[in-house]
Amino acid sequence: MTLIDLANPTRFLSLTTRLLPWLAAATAILLLIGLYQSAMAPDDYQQGATVKIMFIHVPNAWLSMFVWGVMSLSALGTLVWRHPLADVAAKAAAPIGAAFTFLALVTGSLWGRPMWGTYWEWDARLTSVLILFLMYLGLIALWRAVEDPSRAARAAAILTLVGAINLPIIKFSVDWWNTLHQPASVMRVGGSTLDRAFLIPLLVMAVAFSLLFITLHLAAMRNEILRRRVRALQMMQVAQASQRPA
């Protein structure tokens, strides 16, 4: 089955109906294993138990960028190949990506409180993730500003691609800005090589969160397709009702 076969929404729906229970089960099992391993991981000699925030924080941060990548591919699908499900994929991914980004910010700031002594530090990484979050919100605002889904899809696709070009530039600028303003006041512990005791739970959690994203994304796409069908049916009903003689 190739990507073009999935252009038929009915076929896509039947595929997701079969896939979703398995994906959800796999996500739940991996999350349980990952959380157990994270809880069992030894405390860090410097950070104590707070190092365990990493097992939630890092997968969220990773996915916050990965989801923009997924949306950029969908944007290409919308603009270049006119794949009918590409805009559904892009629209469904935006709120999920925003949620992952928000969680990365929250866990990062909760981690920063005991480590840096403050909830918010204008650290380069935090700042660029915050800007990423703002761009997700702008994109969602764009989706919500227009009633016609196909028109909104093309505008959002262009903005997503412009964002994909700009995000590395923003990241670079913020890094530069940060080193200028506060030279090496914040040392990230993550820079050192990770011990195996931390690495394995982290990898399990990363896979679990990726599966979680795929599950949520497919479910959200399903809902979006069904929502559009309901909308089409309602429009049809209204059209029929207005044609009937009074």
């Binding site: 028109r151 505008a155 700009n166 600028s173």
Partner: protein, 222 residues
Amino acid sequence: MTALAALIRRDIRIALRVGGGALIGVLFFLTVVVLMPFAVGPDLALLTRLGPAILWLGALLASLLTLDRLFMADHEDGSLDLIVMSRTPLELTCAAKALAHWLAAGLPLVIATPVLGLLLNLDATATSAVALTLFVGTPALTFTGMIGAALAVTLHRGGLLLAVLVLPLSIPVLIFGVAASEAAITGPLTFGAPFSILCALSLISFVVGPFAAAASLRQGLD
């Protein structure tokens, strides 16, 4: 080429005459800068230190506010449809329109900077540094902002949505603009490094902006 030159002349003429409103941007710029001392206090030393940042923020907001006129007026009277349908490549037309917009609305901001620098107690070096960075940086603001303006006109939305979409994209320009100005005033960095990156950002926006704006006009105006 003559078509593009004619378009630039027309756009500048419309912007500068009654109803165009390009020069309102300068007035807004002045007002924002005058508001600042009321917020931070009339401390000249503090204003000198904040000067480049205040001028850059004011110029950023002023160029943002004039942006939604870039395509909106042409869309309202129907000439945008003719421009999209014409034989000149739409990317070139977009670039010409952005250039005209910068000449009418961006360049006056740069020219006004020395006067506003006096209000903020900036010396000659500082003022010329800020003016130079604005001269190089405001085209980047116009050309990236053009993407937002094109999206806004195809969606029949403007104002806040445009601001929310465009402002995050202009963060790099702001960072390097202010950094270059401050490097010229206080150091310790050399002026050249951030200034060249600012130039590079402008050049990137010359490439990306017209293509993205043309794509969004083509996709949206059917």
